[in-house]
C-alpha cells in the first residue's frame, strides 16, 4: 500500500474507535493545534461527565492538585519544542517535559511522538522507555500523538522486525488504539475510565 492509502485507512479505522485524526503539513501547525486544544478544553474534562459527582475524601484531595492548564511534552524533537513553547507562551498554557509524578491527579494534554502507526487497526505505537513519556500518555485527559506519515505500516506483522529489535533490551512499547474505554457496566460504552478521555492523532505529512 502507498502512503496516501495507509493514511486514509488509518484515519478511517481510528475514527471507528473515537480517535480524532488530523493531517498537518508541518510540526509548527501540529504544535499550534496542541496549544489550541488545550486552551479550548475545560479546566478539568472530567467535568463533562460529572465532576459534580460526589467523591470520597481521598479522591477529592487528588482532584484538588490539578489547578493550571498543563501540557506535558517529554522527549519531543527540538524543532517541535521550540514551536510548542512559543504557542504555549502566547496562550498562557504551562508546558512541562518532566516531573509527571507531581501531576498524578491528571493534566490536560500529554503529547508524544509515535514511533509507528498501524493502518489496519488505526493504531499509534508509542515507545516509552522514558517514564515521563509513559505517564504523559496515561495520566493526561487528552493524549495527542504526532505520527509521521512515513511511519505508518499496513498491519502489525509489517512492524514485527522493528518491534523485535526494540525488545532486545529493556523496553516499554504500546499499541494505542482510541481512548481508554470500558463497557463493564451493563455493556454501555464509556470513554476514559483510567487512561485518556480523548486520543488525537496528528499525521505529519511527508515533506
Amino acid at each position: 500500500m502507498t502512503t496516501p492509502n495507509l493514511v486514509e485507512k488509518l484515519t478511517a479505522k481510528a475514527g471507528l474507535v473515537s480517535a480524532t485524526v488530523r493531517c498537518v503539513a508541518s510540526m509548527d501547525e501540529a504544535m499550534a493545534y496542541v496549544a489550541d486544544v488545550c486552551v479550548g478544553k475545560e479546566a478539568c474534562q472530567i467535568l463533562a461527565s460529572g465532576c459534580d459527582a460526589p467523591l470520597s475524601g481521598t479522591a477529592e484531595a487528588l482532584c484538588e492538585t490539578k489547578q493550571d492548564k498543563i501540557i506535558c511534552a517529554p522527549e519531543m524533537p527540538d524543532e517541535a519544542m521550540a514551536a510548542l513553547s512559543a504557542h504555549c507562551a502566547e496562550r498562557g498554557v504551562k508546558l512541562i517535559t518532566s516531573g509527571m509524578r507531581a501531576h498524578l491527579g491528571g493534566i490536560d494534554i500529554g503529547l508524544t511522538m509515535a514511533a509507528a502507526g498501524i493502518a489496519e487497526t488505526g493504531t499509534v505505537v508509542i515507545r516509552s522507555l522514558n517514564e515521563e513519556v509513559r505517564l504523559a500518555s496515561m495520566i493526561a485527559e487528552i493524549h495527542i500523538a504526532v505520527l509521521p506519515a512515513r511511519a505508518i505500516v499496513a498491519d502489525s506483522y509489517a512492524l514485527e522486525p522493528r518491534l523485535v529489535e526494540w525488545m532486545g533490551q529493556p523496553d516499554f512499547t504500546a499499541f494505542v488504539t482510541g481512548p481508554s474505554r470500558t463497557a463493564d457496566i451493563e455493556r454501555v460504552l464509556a470513554l476514559g475510565v483510567h487512561g485518556p478521555l480523548e486520543l488525537h492523532i496528528l499525521i505529519l505529512e511527508d515533506k
Binding site: M138, M167, I185, E186, V193, H194
Partner: protein, 719 residues
C-alpha cells in the same frame, strides 16, 4: 462461584439463577449483539484459517513449555526481570507475598488476571496484611461485592447500574447517580489515588515471548498500563501456557482475541514490557520486576494427549458468549472460577473433581462453543470426557451403569422397548403421547408431551416395505437410531420413499444395528459406548455399502466423528471406524448432493415452512444448505426463524437431568418459530422433533413439526 456439593443442590441453585431477570435479559441482549459484532469484526478476515493457525502454533508451544520457560527466563533475566516457576497455586501466592515483604510493600494495585483468580491471590495477600485493590472496573466492582467474576472478559456483566450506584454510594459515603458515564468517572477518581499510593502492581500476562523475555498485556481501560508503571514493584502472574516462542505468535492471537471476545478489532491498549524500565520511586531508579509462571497442573496437562488442547485457550470468553446455558444461568452457576465451556473443563484440572462433578453434567453438547473457539478446542467432547473420568474415579451412578448395561445389549434393549409398547396402553389414552405418566416419572417433565412408542417398529415393517431394486448402482445402508426405529417409524418410511424415487439405489436395513451410543457418551459411560460402537460396526459392514444414510442428525454426527475418537488407542479398530465414518452421510446431504433430486420430482401447492437447524447437523456435520434447499426444491416456501441454529433444549438425557433449563430453551425456540408466521416446521433430527412437537402439544398450539424427509415424501410425484 458454583459451590453445590450435590446435583440436587446444584439444580436448586440453577432454579434460583433462572429467576434473576436482570441477568437473563443482560445475557440475552449480549448474546444477540455479540453475533453481529463478531461477524462484522471478522468480515475481512478468514476466521477459520486464522483459528487453525492459532491452534497449530499453540500446539507447537504446548509441546515445549519447559524449554520455552528456560528461554524466556534467560532473556528476561538478562534484561533485569526475575523469573519464577510455581508448582502450585499456594506456591505462586507465597512467592508474590515474599516479593512484597522483601520490598517493604504495604499497598498493591492489581489489573485483571484470571490466573490470580485461579490461585485466590487476593485472599492470600490480604491474610498477610497487604491492602489489595482491583483496578479493572468490573473486577473492582466484584471485589467490593466479595464475589467472583461471571464472565472472563466482562466480570460484572450480571450487575445493573442500580446495583453499581448503590455500591459506589457505600464506598464513597456519598449518594451516587444512576448514570453509567458518571459511575465510570467516579471509579476513575476513586481508583486514581490507589494507583498513586501503591507500592506494588500485579498484572496478568496475555503473552510471554520466549525469544525476548517480553510480556504482552491487552486491556481497554488503561489500568494495566498504570499498574505496571506507577508502583516501584511489578509482578506479573501468568500460567505457563502463556509462553510462546516469538512475537509473531502473539501478534497472530491479537488479530483474533478482541474480535472473538467482544467484536473489537483490537483493544485500546496492547502493552509490551521487556525487562526492567526506569521507575523514579524505586531506590535503584529502575523497576523491581518479577514474572511468576504458574504450573498448577498445566505441565502434566501438556502431556495428556486428550486434554493438552485445553492449554490452547486464549481466554477470549467466546465459549460463554454463545453457550445457551450460560445465557440462562450466568457464570456464577456455570463455572467455578473459570466460566463457560472452557470453565467446565478447567475447573476439573485447576480446582478439582468436587467442584467440577455437577458442572460438567450441565452441557447440552450443542457444539456452539466449539464452533466459535478462537483456538479450535473441541470443548463439547472434552466436557464429556471430564464427566467420564470423574465417573471412573468416583464410581458410576447406578442408573448410569444400568442404562449402559441395557443399551449395549441390543436384544434386551429392543425387548424392553417392545414391552413398553404393551405397557403404555393405560397411559396414552389412545393418543400418540404419554398422557398419564406416574408422577415420579413425570416430575418437572410436563413442559412437553412425550411421544408413545409406535405400534410397529420400523425394523418389523422393513421386509414388507423394502423396495426391490434389480440393477443397483448405489448400495446404501439405513441407520435409523432408536427413536426413528421405535417411536417415529414414519420418518424412516418417508426417507425410504424419497430415496426410492431415484432409480438404481439398493437399500438395506441391517437388523443387528442398535443405539448409536451417543446417550452413553452424554452419561459418561465410555466403556459401554465403545462396546456399542463395535457392535454397530459389526452389524453394518461398511465395505458392503457406498453410503450409510442416517435420518438422525445426532446419530450421524456421532457415527462420523465419535466412533473414531472412541478407538483412538486401538489402531485396528480405529481403521475400521474411519472406514465406517467415511461412508456416513445425513439424509438431506445424501438426497441433495448424491441423488441430486430436483424440483421435477415434486408437485403440490406451496406452503410456508420454517426450519430448525439441529446442533449436530449444522455444527456437528457442517450441513446448513442441503435441508433448506430441499424444502425449496419440493416447492415449499422456507421462512427463516430467529436463532434457527440455537439448541431446542433437548440434548438427549440432558432434558431429563435439567428439565428447568430444557424448558426455558424450548420456550425460546417455540416463540421464535411462531414469530415466523408459519405453522409448519421441518428439521432433520427426531430428538428435536420430540422436543419441539412435544412443546407445542403441551401448550396446545397447532403447529406441524416434521422431518424434512416427510415433507419431501408427501410431495413426491406419484409414478
Amino acid at each position: 462461584m458454583q459451590d453445590a456439593t450435590t446435583l440436587k443442590e446444584y439444580r436448586k441453585q440453577l432454579r434460583e439463577a433462572l429467576e434473576n431477570d436482570f441477568q437473563r435479559q443482560a445475557l440475552d441482549n449480549f448474546a444477540v449483539a455479540y453475533r453481529t459484532s463478531r461477524a462484522n469484526a471478522f468480515a475481512d478476515i478468514d476466521a477459520p484459517e486464522l483459528i487453525a493457525e492459532i491452534a497449530a502454533a499453540k500446539d507447537e508451544s504446548i509441546g515445549r513449555l519447559e524449554e520455552l520457560f528456560q528461554e524466556f527466563k534467560r532473556h528476561a533475566e538478562a534484561a533485569g526481570t526475575k523469573v519464577h516457576l510455581a508448582a502450585t497455586a499456594h506456591e505462586a501466592n507465597e512467592i508474590i507475598a515474599r516479593i512484597g515483604k522483601e520490598n517493604n510493600v504495604k499497598t498493591i494495585v492489581k489489573s485483571k488476571s484470571m490466573t490470580a483468580e485461579e490461585t485466590h491471590l487476593n485472599d492470600h495477600l490480604e491474610a498477610q496484611g497487604f491492602e489489595v485493590t482491583e483496578t479493572d472496573l468490573g473486577e473492582w466492582i466484584i471485589q467490593l461485592r466479595h464475589e467472583g467474576p461471571t464472565h472472563m472478559v466482562m466480570p460484572a456483566i450480571h450487575l445493573s447500574r442500580y446495583q453499581v450506584a448503590d455500591l459506589f454510594s457505600e464506598v464513597t459515603h456519598k449518594q451516587q447517580d444512576v448514570d453509567i458515564q458518571k459511575l465510570v468517572k467516579v471509579a476513575r477518581r476513586e481508583l486514581r489515588p490507589k494507583f498513586c499510593q501503591a507500592d506494588m502492581g500485579i498484572s496478568g500476562a496475555n503473552f510471554a515471548i520466549a525469544a525476548t523475555g517480553t510480556i504482552g498485556l491487552i486491556t481497554n481501560e488503561g489500568n494495566g498500563r498504570l499498574t505496571t508503571t506507577l508502583p516501584r514493584v511489578h509482578v506479573a502472574l501468568a500460567g505457563v501456557d502463556k509462553l510462546m516462542p516469538t512475537l509473531h505468535d502473539a501478534l497472530r492471537i491479537i488479530r483474533c482475541l478482541p474480535k472473538n471476545a467482544t467484536g473489537q478489532a483490537i483493544t485500546s491498549y496492547v502493552t509490551w514490557i521487556t525487562g526492567t524500565v526506569p521507575c523514579e520511586p524505586s531506590p535503584r531508579g529502575t523497576k523491581v520486576k518479577h514474572v511468576v509462571f504458574l504450573d498448577n497442573g498445566r505441565l502434566a496437562m501438556a502431556r495428556d494427549p486428550e486434554f493438552k488442547q485445553v492449554l490452547r485457550c486464549i481466554r477470549c470468553g467466546a465459549c460463554a458468549n454463545v453457550c445457551p446455558i450460560y445465557r440462562l444461568v450466568g457464570g456464577h452457576k456455570y463455572g467455578h472460577v473459570y466460566i463457560g465451556a472452557i470453565g467446565l473443563v478447567a475447573t476439573y484440572f485447576f480446582h478439582g473433581r468436587e467442584k467440577a462433578k455437577n458442572l460438567v453434567q450441565n452441557c447440552l453438547n450443542c457444539g456452539a462453543c466449539k464452533a466459535v473457539c478462537a483456538a479450535g478446542i473441541d470443548l463439547p467432547t472434552l466436557i464429556k470426557e471430564v464427566h467420564a473420568r470423574i465417573q471412573d474415579e468416583e464410581g458410576h451412578p447406578l442408573y448410569s451403569t444400568a442404562v449402559g448395561q441395557v443399551l449395549k445389549n441390543r436384544k434386551l434393549f429392543h425387548t424392553m422397548l417392545k414391552s413398553a409398547r404393551l405397557l403404555q396402553k393405560p397411559i396414552t389414552g389412545g393418543t400418540p403421547y404419554l398422557r398419564h405418566l406416574p408422577m415420579f416419572l413425570f416430575k418437572d417433565q410436563d413442559f412437553r408431551a412425550l411421544p408413545a412408542v409406535a405400534d410397529e417398529a420400523f425394523r418389523d415393517k422393513w421386509e414388507r416395505i423394502k423396495p426391490r431394486v434389480a440393477d443397483a448402482k448405489l448400495k446404501v445402508a439405513l441407520f435409523s437410531g432408536c427413536v426413528q426405529d421405535f417411536v417415529y417409524p414414519e420418518q424412516m418410511e418417508a426417507a425410504v420413499a424419497v430415496i426410492a424415487s431415484k432409480p438404481g439405489v439398493a437399500m438395506e436395513y441391517p437388523m443387528g444395528q442398535s443405539c448409536c451410543g451417543l446417550p452413553l457418551q452424554m452419561m459418561g459411560e465410555k466403556q459401554a459406548g465403545r462396546e456399542l460402537a463395535a457392535h454397530n460396526m459389526n452389524a453394518i459392514d461398511a465395505q458392503d455399502f457406498d453410503y450409510i444414510v442416517t435420518m438422525c442428525a445426532s446419530c450421524a454426527s456421532y457415527l462420523k466423528h465419535g466412533y473414531k475418537r472412541l478407538f483412538a488407542d486401538d489402531p485396528a479398530m480405529a481403521y475400521k471406524a474411519a472406514q465406517f465414518a467415511h461412508r456416513v452421510i445425513d439424509f438431506s446431504s445424501f438426497v441433495r448432493d448424491v441423488l441430486g433430486i430436483t424440483d421435477e420430482s415434486f408437485t403440490g401447492p406451496s406452503k410456508k415452512v420454517t426450519y430448525h437447524a439441529p446442533c449436530h447437523l449444522c455444527r456437528g456435520l457442517g450441513v446448513t444448505e442441503a435441508p433448506r434447499a430441499l424444502l425449496g426444491e419440493a416447492g415449499l416456501e422456507y421462512v427463516p426463524a430467529t436463532e434457527e441454529d440455537v439448541c431446542c433444549g433437548f440434548g438427549g438425557t440432558f432434558s431429563v437431568k435439567f428439565p428447568e433449563l430444557s424448558k426455558e430453551l424450548l420456550g425460546k425456540k417455540l416463540a421464535n418459530l411462531k414469530a415466523t408466521g408459519a405453522t409448519a416446521m421441518a428439521t432433520d433430527c427426531p430428538g428435536c422433533i420430540m422436543q419441539i412437537r412435544g412443546g407445542f402439544e403441551a401448550e396446545k398450539t397447532p403447529f406441524e413439526v416434521r422431518h424434512v424427509a416427510e415433507y419431501l415424501a408427501e410431495r413426491l410425484k406419484r409414478k
